[in-house]
């Protein structure tokens, strides 16, 4: 089975919210003092691919798109056990929306040619849009299942458990297909020392827009369908009333009294 996983480099979503900052001049965000990471949702997708590889053998190819991709970051899926890494790395890919990003990824997947399964995270932790997987499926005319928490390969098909608000749906889908993976699939594995060493030696393929046969006007910010007009941080009042006590137990009891006085309980 040939599996392609799309993973993004993002600012660290696990960094404390207090380190989050927006540069109003560029409408870009950063986490002060924290290095970029592989998107955690994409990491779940890598994990899903590796589990299928463990179960029945598979070649796992990872694609990342952007500019200034840090090799030590984007190579993490290789260290976890993926086989190949393709970078769509060029300034032209930068600043895209789900539309221009899906367009470039779909073109790269077509160029790879051999694929049974395309996995993406359920959404990226920066844009929180959840559309690239769906877009790739539509562009390539492939079936699509979103929010998977379990995958099991059958004969020419895949059985997917899709997370719902009430439980889950069992979905059968023919291959090739696009599946987006949700965090319910379980913790991604840590790279092994052996994996890290192997990843260090492996050089990613880098594909420019011309390699994909795409004009730069359709890519990145130039190819956007949706414009970002404003990016800002909501302000919270921070009016917490701290309830104290001589001991933690007393503080707990005082909290109950305080809530009663405030008619909260």
């Amino acid at each position: 089975m040939n599996i392609i996983v799309c993973v993004k480099q993002v600012i660290d979503p696990e960094a404390p919210p207090s380190s989050f900052r927006i540069d109003p001049a560029t409408n870009r965000a950063e986490m002060r003092g924290a290095n970029p990471v592989i998107d955690p949702y994409g990491e779940y997708a890598v994990e899903a691919a590796l589990r299928l590889k463990d179960a029945g053998g598979a070649k796992v190819t990872v694609i990342s798109l952007g500019s200034n991709l840090l090799r030590e970051v984007v190579k993490k899926p290789l260290a976890m056990g993926a086989d190949e890494l393709i970078l769509l790395e060029d300034a032209a890919y930068d600043g895209g929306d789900s539309y221009s990003t899906a367009l470039a990824l779909a073109a790269a997947i077509k160029k790879i040619g051999q694929y049974d399964l395309i996995l993406c995270g359920r959404e990226a932790s920066d844009t929180n849009a959840g559309q690239v997987g769906a877009g790739v499926a539509e562009i390539l005319s492939l079936p699509c299942v979103t929010l998977a928490k379990r995958l099991e390969a059958g004969a020419g098909n895949l059985v997917v458990e899709r997370v719902t608000s009430a439980g889950y749906d069992v979905v059968e889908v023919g291959l090739p297909a696009v599946i987006t993976i949700s965090n319910e699939i379980g913790e991604p594995r840590y790279p092994t020392v052996k994996g890290i060493m192997a990843a260090k030696k492996k050089e990613p393929l880098v594909w420019k827009p011309t390699d994909l046969g795409l004009d730069a006007s359709r890519l990145g910010s130039a190819g956007r369908k949706v414009k970002l007009l404003r990016l800002y941080q909501p302000v919270y009042e921070g009016r917490c009333e701290f309830v104290e006590g001589q001991t933690p137990e007393e503080a707990g009891a005082n909290l109950a009294i305080k809530l009663r006085e405030a008619k909260v309980i």
Binding site: P13, A134, A166, V226, Q233, A253
Partner: protein
């Protein structure tokens, strides 16, 4: 080519009734349609759903499209998507509103791509730009650390709206509207991913989405055992149990208890957050609560920026005393 006109709301329903998210969609849709001076339409897909039309008209719809057939009884995303595609091609709405729900999350992006554009998902605010007449769609990004306002020149302008973010329509039974049964074709061949079984997670007691009180635990709870203590408090307050993502990922509690951007978005009267640091992604799910109470050992934890009342301390010591006192006060 005629220009796209009007606002179209996708109606979610269960057992012959519009769900709250449908009323929220209609509430937002009515407001946008009035600003644009255009018609508000809506669409319901299902079986035996004729009674939804009067509910939707009372809630502000000028026109209701009903796709009502026994073969549409069960939700199949590929079929529903194809039907939406047919309707949108025919009705050519300028704006399409779906809920950011199991259905909307799945269908809206694919629908948008079929019309050569993208959706703006999980919107918390919708407005019309005075000058351009285009939709301004505000949504949380960076896990809720920031808000972004998007606009597009391409029609249809597709959005999904967050549950409980839009003011619901107030029904008025005297309102008038038309009901249309559009021509449509259900082609079984479009189904390439088929739902073969729907599994409902067992949940004892009050449903998380409906609970007036929610007691939630975070990473600091440390294990399944700790959640038992939270359940005692939840039971006492006739509430439901919730969690941030780490306890769900670690299997300490069911995935369906997850509150946050990628879990449930809830708005209870009282949200008691125990050992939850309050990541933006978690706060996205509970910031609509009327009162947030936090117990956390770290005074700098983000949760205290959102909480109305808080105790800084080890929950293992604070919580039992708190629960005991609550019990005493409720009994008196």
């Amino acid at each position: 080519m005629a220009e796209n006109q009007g606002v179209l709301v996708y109606l979610e329903h269960r057992e012959g009734k519009l769900l709250p998210i449908a009323l929220e969609g209609l509430g937002a849709g009515r407001r946008l349609a009035d600003t644009l001076g255009q018609r508000l339409s809506c669409v319901a897909i299902g079986s035996n759903i004729a009674q939804l039309a009067s509910q939707a008209i009372a809630a502000g719809a000028d026109r209701v499209y009903l796709m009502d057939s026994p073969e549409l009884a069960d939700y199949q995303p590929d079929i529903y998507l194809a039907l939406m595609g047919q309707l949108v091609a025919e009705a050519r709405p300028q704006v399409i509103i779906m809920g950011h729900t199991d259905t909307g999350r799945e269908i809206a992006p694919r629908l948008a791509f079929r019309f050569g554009t993208v959706a703006v998902t999980d919107c918390v605010e919708l407005n019309i730009d005075n000058t351009s007449g285009r939709l301004l769609a505000t949504k949380p990004v960076y896990g809720g650390n920031a808000l972004a306002v998007f606009s597009t020149d391409t029609d249809p302008q597709v959005v999904t709206v967050r549950t409980k973010a839009m003011a619901p329509a107030v029904p008025n039974a005297s309102r008038q509207g038309e009901v249309i049964t559009p021509a449509y074709k259900v082609e079984p061949s479009v189904v390439r991913a088929r739902i073969v079984r729907r599994v409902l997670a067992e949940s004892a007691g009050v449903k998380l989405e409906d609970a007036a009180v929610v007691v939630a635990g975070g990473r600091g709870i440390g294990g399944a055992e700790g959640f038992k203590q939270l359940e005692d408090l939840a039971r006492l307050l006739k509430g439901a149990i919730g969690a941030s993502r780490p306890p769900c990922d670690s299997g300490w509690i069911s995935d369906t208890a997850q509150v946050g951007l990628t879990g449930k978005i809830i708005a209870p009267e009282l949200y008691i957050a125990v050992a939850i640091s309050g990541s933006s992604q978690h706060m996205s799910g509970c910031s609509g609560a009327r009162t947030i109470v936090a117990i956390n050992k770290d005074r700098e934890a983000n949760i205290f920026r959102h909480a109305r009342f808080g105790v800084v301390g080890d929950w293992k010591k604070v919580l039992p005393a708190f629960t005991a006192k609550v019990k005493e006060l409720l009994a008196s």
